[in-house]
């Protein structure tokens, strides 16, 4: 298998090449002016490691997979085109009001609570570019007020006169009957045919989502249209560059559904956050190969701490109304959440409790932690890590950033010590413990909300600061095992290399499996089968267009269900693709009962109030061969035969239960495979530092993973 996957981040473009049995990682700085250049530079670096030319690689490679941040950047920079929104008259301010809560979607709890200071984000389509047309379709899809072509033409003209460069059409209940959305699109095409240079792109909401909810569907459609052209240019130019070097297959794009598709079958919206989600897919592969039942992934960088969950049994956690930037959308996206905790998180005095608080504010990468000596004055988690002895001032990020402990001391003294009446070292300990406990609690909440016991999970830690803090938050969670992937620093790219072709289609329905008033079980099997078949057909069509055979395709049917009138829907993976008997309906009800009870407590189910399906989802996918984590690691580690040979020196570090103590420092590059490093210890690698707490051991596995394990009750020191 020959495969390339690339993940473009804000600072670095990561590249991961699976070249038969060889796995190679490479990096290059991201070139924002032309992403293809950074992409090719990273690829070139990887090619050098394989002692091949870029042309040789691209001519032979089977697949190039690409996770992009183009869309995220365009949203942040508001660099999309001027679009007009055509909606149902009377609903023109839906996206401006944003269900009222829009002001705080995507913000922290404190920002959510501060209504006096609330500011909505600047709209992607300002009010003056929104018009309403006279039309109405009801909840069943019946046309109540027919649309009038003359009225539509008039409103289109208003927008054209105001200078819009494209149209988004979102009409009420179009998911039940798109006749009016289609009519608007037809009229625009009639007025501005695509054969003319001045034609306008049109995106209708029912083509993006078949789910009810006009605000989230509007935002999904708007963001898709807003990013469309820019992403199209960026990705097409990348594809052209690859062609010049001999790669003639289609470029494959990583989707935030945790799947993959070709550029021609990709909406811009599906690419947002694709990088971290690809990392989560990599974690699924880790779980399978290393036979870990439950994994929680943690990515601790400079400003944020990302959490993802991989549970046993192939269960996937999606968010069905995720927030992108500041906008709530209604596309399914794999669940990943972030809290403001990272190396750059700022520690401040909490006057209310006369105590210490850490984050969510961050010093970012500029000026960065005080010890970076780049002008930062606020004490951060990294400053605490330095003063606790973990970080080597001369070997941080392989020596590329020199740390100044004096700056860290001064920041803590000036900002905290005068309030807290404690020593600098005690405050550094407190900063670390507060940060670690916050991360542990955030993981706990997310895992527990999904009905799992966090103590039964293994932590997969990546991101530059993960290995430095993993023992801390693992102890807070009572988790006993941590894995750090070999390719920790390019793990999203690794994940991208392991995705399947996958398309998800879903539709809002209103089906009572059990109707409490009528006292009946659902028996309209043809209706349900018809809905499933339609969604299956859409996915099949997408995949067949990519050149796969019908027999390659697999399907998963999911139902979002609820008791009575609950708002939130709980997903159940259906064991059936078709329905024909009451036994199947009863089976669904029983399965739902069990899964609901596990999640919210046995006895809290209320089937008496009715059991309904409100969303049907069909996942169509082609499982592709995976890059194996078994076998050849990418590390050159293992040069020593014993742990002692990897010992560099010792220094004074702080550890729970021991306080400050002389601590052995190991060189990761020389660590032997399979031998245990017993905590307390620090292991220095080029891009990260492993902090091994007392009662923990660290071991480099054959596959290049690092495993840290807690030995309960036994002192191994």
């Amino acid at each position: 298998m020959k495969r390339i996957s690339v993940d473009i981040g804000g600072t670095f473009t990561d590249c991961f090449i699976a070249w038969d049995e060889q796995l190679v990682e490479a990096k290059a700085p991201t070139t924002h002016y032309n992403l293809a250049q950074g992409f090719m530079n990273a690829l070139r670096n990887g090619a050098e490691k394989l002692e091949l030319s870029v042309d040789e690689i691209l001519e032979q490679v089977e697949s190039v997979r690409y996770g992009t941040t183009l869309g995220t950047n365009a949203l942040i920079e508001r660099s999309g085109p001027r679009l007009g929104l055509i909606t149902t008259a009377g609903f023109e301010d839906v996206t401006i009001i944003g269900r009222s809560r829009q002001y705080a979607d995507g913000l922290t709890p404190l920002e959510q609570a501060n209504v006096s200071g609330a500011d909505r984000p600047h709209p992607l389509i300002p009010r003056e570019y929104i018009v309403g047309i006279r039309e109405r379709v009801d909840y069943k899809g019946e046309v109540l007020i027919p649309a009038n072509p003359d009225d539509i033409r008039r409103q289109i003209q208003v927008l054209v006169d105001r200078g819009v460069r494209g149209f988004v059409v979102v009409l009420l209940n179009a998911v039940m009957n798109p006749v009016h959305e289609d009519l608007v699109a037809d009229i625009i095409l009639e007025e501005y045919p695509t054969s003319y240079l001045g034609s306008f792109p049109v995106v209708c909401s029912h083509d993006i989502s078949l789910k009810k909810g006009e605000y989230a569907r509007s935002m999904s459609t708007i963001i898709g249209a807003y990013l469309h052209r820019q992403m199209q240019y960026g990705l097409r130019s990348l594809e052209m560059t690859l062609r010049q070097y001999g790669y003639l297959r289609p470029l494959e794009v990583v989707h935030n559904t945790g799947g993959l598709s070709q550029l021609s079958r990709t909406h811009a919206l599906q690419t947002i956050h694709a990088g971290p989600i690809a990392g989560l897919s990599g974690a699924e592969q880790v779980a399978r190969e290393l036979e870990v039942e439950n994994l929680v992934t943690t990515d601790m960088g400079g400003t944020s701490f990302d959490i993802g969950i991989v549970a046993g049994g192939g269960i996937k956690f999606y968010e069905f109304a995720p927030v992108i930037d500041r906008w709530r959308v209604d596309i399914p996206m794999m669940f990943i959440t972030a809290i403001g905790a990272g190396g750059g998180s700022i520690a401040k005095f909490d006057s209310t409790h006369q105590s210490l608080e850490v984050g969510p504010e961050s010093a970012g990468s500029e000026p960065g932690p005080a010890c970076y000596d780049m002008g930062g004055r606020e004490p951060t988690v990294t400053d605490a890590d330095l003063l606790l002895g973990y970080l080597n001032p001369g070997y941080y990020n392989a020596g590329r950033i020199r740390l100044n402990p004096q700056r860290a001391v001064r920041a803590i003294r000036d900002r905290l010590a005068r309030h807290l009446v404690a020593s600098i070292e005690d405050i550094a300990v407190a900063i670390r413990e507060v940060a670690d406990s916050k991360m542990a609690q955030a993981i706990f909440k997310e895992v527990a909300l999904r009905g799992y016991d966090p103590r039964k999970f293994t932590i997969l830690a990546y991101g530059g600061n993960g290995p430095t803090h993993a023992c801390g938050y693992a102890e807070g969670l009572e988790v006993s095992r941590i894995l750090v992937p070999a390719n920790s620093s390019v793990f999203s790219a690794v994940g991208g290399g392991n995705l399947d072709q996958l398309h998800i289609y879903e539709r809002t329905v209103y089906i009572f499996l059990y109707h409490p008033n009528a006292g009946t079980l659902y028996d309209q099997y043809e209706e349900l089968n018809g809905i499933i078949a339609d969604l299956r057909e859409r996915g099949t069509r997408d995949i067949l267009r990519l050149g796969y055979k019908p027999e390659d395709i697999q399907y998963r049917v999911e139902f979002d269900m609820r008791y009575g009138n609950q708002l939130q829907l709980t997903t159940l993976v259906s064991p059936y693709l078709e329905f024909e008997s009451p036994r199947q309906i009863l089976d669904l009800i029983k399965r739902y009962h069990v899964s609901y009870g596990e999640r919210f407590g046995e006895g809290t189910q209320t089937p008496q109030a009715g059991i309904s399906i409100n969303n049907v989802r069909v996942v169509s996918y082609v499982p592709l061969r995976k890059v194996s984590f078994q076998g050849n690691g990418v590390y050159s580690s293992g040069s020593s035969r014993t742990v002692n040979e990897a010992l560099k020196n010792s220094r004074r570090c702080w550890f729970p239960r021991l306080g400050f103590t002389e601590t052995p420092i190991y060189d990761f590059a020389r660590l032997p495979i399979g031998e245990q490093v017993r905590g307390h210890a620090v292991v220095e690698a080029a891009h990260t530092t492993f902090v091994v707490y007392p009662d923990w051991t660290l071991r480099l596995l054959e596959n290049g993973f690092v495993e840290m394990v807690r030995n309960h009750g036994k002192s191994v020191d």
């Binding site: 301010d93 209504v115 008033n517 008791y563 109030a609």
Partner: protein
């Protein structure tokens, strides 16, 4: 043998006293519990725990974890509850001390609910703990909804469970939801037609409804039997219990990990530290008094002028909020407020509008002293109905918020030592959203309120405009929901929804956020009705600040005797998207009418149109200082009319291109400033012209006039002393 009855016998005396004490006909609400808003006394267990636990770091970790626990259970509850209110944010979960003080509430949700759950817990402790037939045991489940025992109104139902550790009661967990339907004389849970507490539906004093972590089925059936929506009653009783059990489980995990002392110390200190921090922040403000008079303009049945008289005095570390001189209570109207409900609402001022960074617990009110007249509309007696208490405690909220802003302006200009959020004009303060009742298209009988109450317009800030349709004053970060999902479940047909209404906010240098229109009709049901419970249709209670305009009042409008849907389907010239256009141009045949916004439940026919607008926020600063380009932007976005641009903001511009003529604008504004001077009169002259010795005879005025210790009861000849208020009976 004869008994000398004249002889004093201490034994007999004791027996007499015991007899009298034990003959309790009805315990009723407890005055001592209900009027106290301080912390419960420090228990010996807490004192010992605090002495033994000195590690601040551990306590910080526990406190963060408790916050996460409250958030987890609240999030879970919003997932699994069924009431429309709960689904879109009208709920909360909290952790309470063993003596019932709210130590930590979830970050989101309606804080006042949680703040008011302290009272029923304290009642349970006082009356049921030692009562043989009740008691408090591990696995017990209590609930309540009656505001006279601590609540906003009885449409909100609680679930309360004790948390025991090694046989000792160490904490309580509670979850509360605005349920809606509660079996009142009108559907939807907030009957403005109620003329006594007994018209208000289920009145649950704190009662044990389950044992061994399970509800008693006979009681569940009783509650279901008492309301119109038994499905909702069952679903949400179970959902709230699930949330409480989640809190209990997590609290016990904390105790297991850190020990009981660390837990108890953290709970208590969180309360004490919060009170101390509020004292410190109050101390950073200048001493002084600010005053405002507001009026609740309706009982929801008739127009009245019910005075909310508010004086706020900051003195050192203390804040005194004085509502004396407010209107007397209405004994047959539902707009009265229990004092505890009023206090709970004022806590919301502090925690969302002034100091959102403070921990969410009841101790924010510890440094605050409240002065009220018992028997007034903001401190009603148990005989007065209170299902619509919001109609008086919402304007009271605005009054306190407004007075505080005046104190906070100096603070802002001096570097914000009091750590306050932005200085702002008033938020829209009343629940402008329809209540509905009847059969749905799916055959269920329902009664509830729409989520539109969550879209109140925000007030202008000291340096920028207010945000439109932002949040209800009683909660942050809640949700209006989606119209398509609303119509999926209910027979609503929203003709115009979420469309901001022009001129519907307070004007100013910075303008308030606008409110949006709600034009509704219905179809596909055999039986449907609307109701509305909103004040502010005659007299603005949403104030401007430092020269900004108040927000305009809103009427309720109807078009009856017509099926608008049939006409709209068949006649392409008709439209129904704008209240002002509909009412001015009358596009359909039918009876057009406007009303105050208190509407009792009214059955309707399909296609009849009911309309109202969510209100806007107040303005800040002089309209003549507003940037003319901002005025043009407002015009372009439909936020204001040309009339307002020209006559209020005094901007000269080309109506076609919206290009400002700066010189002419400057001239118009100078002219207006001169005109103001001409209109102005010396204060004495103004006072002489406007002052009256008593309220005008044609004004239904309730409250003090010229003396704070004497209030009027609707007519000049009905007046009474504030220390012996008589309730008012409306005709």
């Amino acid at each position: 043998m004869t008994i000398d009855v004249r002889k004093h016998d201490p034994m007999v005396e004791a027996e007499v006293q015991e007899f009298l004490r034990s003959q309790v006909l009805f315990r009723g609400p407890d005055r001592e519990i209900m009027r106290y808003h301080g912390l419960a006394p420090l228990t010996e267990m807490e004192r010992q725990a605090m002495m033994r636990t000195t590690d601040r770091l551990t306590k910080t970790v526990i406190r963060n974890r408790l916050q996460m626990i409250a958030n987890e259970s609240n999030e879970m509850l919003s997932h699994i509850a069924s009431a429309p209110g709960a689904k879109w944010g009208d709920l909360i979960c909290g952790v309470f001390t063993a003596l019932g003080d709210l130590a930590i509430a979830s970050s989101n949700g309606v804080l006042i609910f949680a703040a008011l759950a302290q009272h029923p817990i304290k009642y349970i402790l006082k009356y049921w703990k030692g009562e043989d037939t009740v008691g408090i045991r591990e696995g017990d489940i209590f609930m309540h909804n009656d505001a006279r025992y601590g609540n906003v109104h009885n449409t909100d139902q609680s679930c309360i469970i004790p948390i025991f550790h090694e046989g000792e009661l160490v904490a309580w967990a509670s979850s509360i939801i605005h349920e809606g339907e509660n079996g009142a004389c009108e559907p939807g849970g907030m009957p403005s037609a109620a003329e006594s507490p007994y018209d208000e539906g289920l009145k649950i004093s704190p009662v044990r409804v389950g044992e061994n972590f399970q509800f008693r089925e006979d009681l569940v059936t009783y509650f279901q039997n008492s309301v119109r929506d038994p499905k909702l009653q069952l679903e949400d009783m179970r959902a709230k219990l699930a949330a409480c059990l989640r809190i209990r489980k997590r609290v016990l995990e904390i105790i297991e990990e850190y020990g009981i002392d660390a837990f108890l110390a953290t709970m208590r200190e969180t309360l004490e530290y919060t009170a101390d921090e509020v004292r410190r922040r109050l101390a950073a403000l200048p001493d002084g008094k600010t005053r405002i008079v507001l009026f609740a303009d309706s009982t929801l049945r008739e127009n009245v002028i019910a005075k909310i008289n508010c004086t706020l005095e900051k003195r050192g570390e203390e804040l005194i909020i004085d509502f004396r001189g407010s209107a007397p209570q209405f004994l047959n109207r539902a707009t009265n407020t229990v004092l505890a409900s009023l206090k709970g609402m004022i806590a919301q001022v502090f925690l969302n509008y002034v100091w959102p960074d403070l921990p969410r617990n009841q101790a924010v009110l510890v440094p605050v002293k409240f002065l009220t007249d018992e028997g007034s509309i903001v401190d009603c007696t148990p005989e007065a109905p209170n299902a619509q208490s919001m109609m008086t405690f919402f304007p009271a909220f605005t009054a306190v918020d407004h007075c505080l802003q005046k104190l906070l302006f100096n603070n802002l200009m001096n570097g914000n030592p009091a750590k306050a959020s932005d200085v702002h004009a008033s938020w829209w303060n009343t629940i402008s959203g329809f209540i509905y009742g009847g059969y749905t298209q799916h055959g269920f009988y329902v009664g509830n309120i729409t989520t539109d109450i969550n879209g109140m317009g925000g007030g202008a800030r000291w340096n920028r405009d207010g945000e439109p349709a932002l949040n209800p004053i009683f909660a942050a970060y809640v949700d209006l929901g989606e119209t398509e999902l609303l119509e999926d479940e209910l027979p609503f047909l929203c003709l115009s929804y979420r469309r901001l209404m022009a001129d519907n906010h307070g004007f100013g240098k910075y303008r308030g956020g606008s409110g949006y229109m709600q034009i509704v009709t219905h179809k596909d049901t055999p039986l449907w009705g609307w109701m509305n419970t909103t004040i502010g249709s005659k007299f603005p209670t949403v104030l401007g600040l430092f020269g900004g305009y108040a927000a305009p009042t809103q009427p309720l409008c109807k078009v009856r005797g017509v099926n608008s849907l049939e006409l709209l389907r068949n006649d392409s010239r008709l439209s129904a998207y704008d209240i002002v256009e509909i009412m001015n141009h009358k596009p359909f045949p039918g009876q057009y009418s406007t009303h105050h916004t208190g509407l009792q439940f009214e059955m309707v026919n399909p296609g009849e149109v009911y309309m109202q607008a969510q209100g806007g926020g107040g303005g800040y600063g002089d309209v003549l200082e507003r940037d003319p380009e901002q005025v043009m932007a407002d015009l372009q976005q439909g936020r204001i009319s040309h009339w307002v641009a020209q006559n209020i903001y005094k901007v000269a511009y080309d109506p076609e291109t919206l290009v400002v003529n700066s010189e002419e604008t400057e001239r118009l504004r100078k002219e207006e400033r001169r005109a103001r001077l001409r209109r102005g009169v010396p204060f004495q002259e103004f006072a002489a012209k406007w002052t009256r010795s008593e309220p005008p005879r044609d004004l239904p005025f309730y409250g003090s006039w010229d003396r704070p210790d004497e209030v009027y009861g609707g007519r000049p000849d009905v007046k009474m002393s504030t220390d012996s208020l008589q309730g008012i009976f409306m005709p």
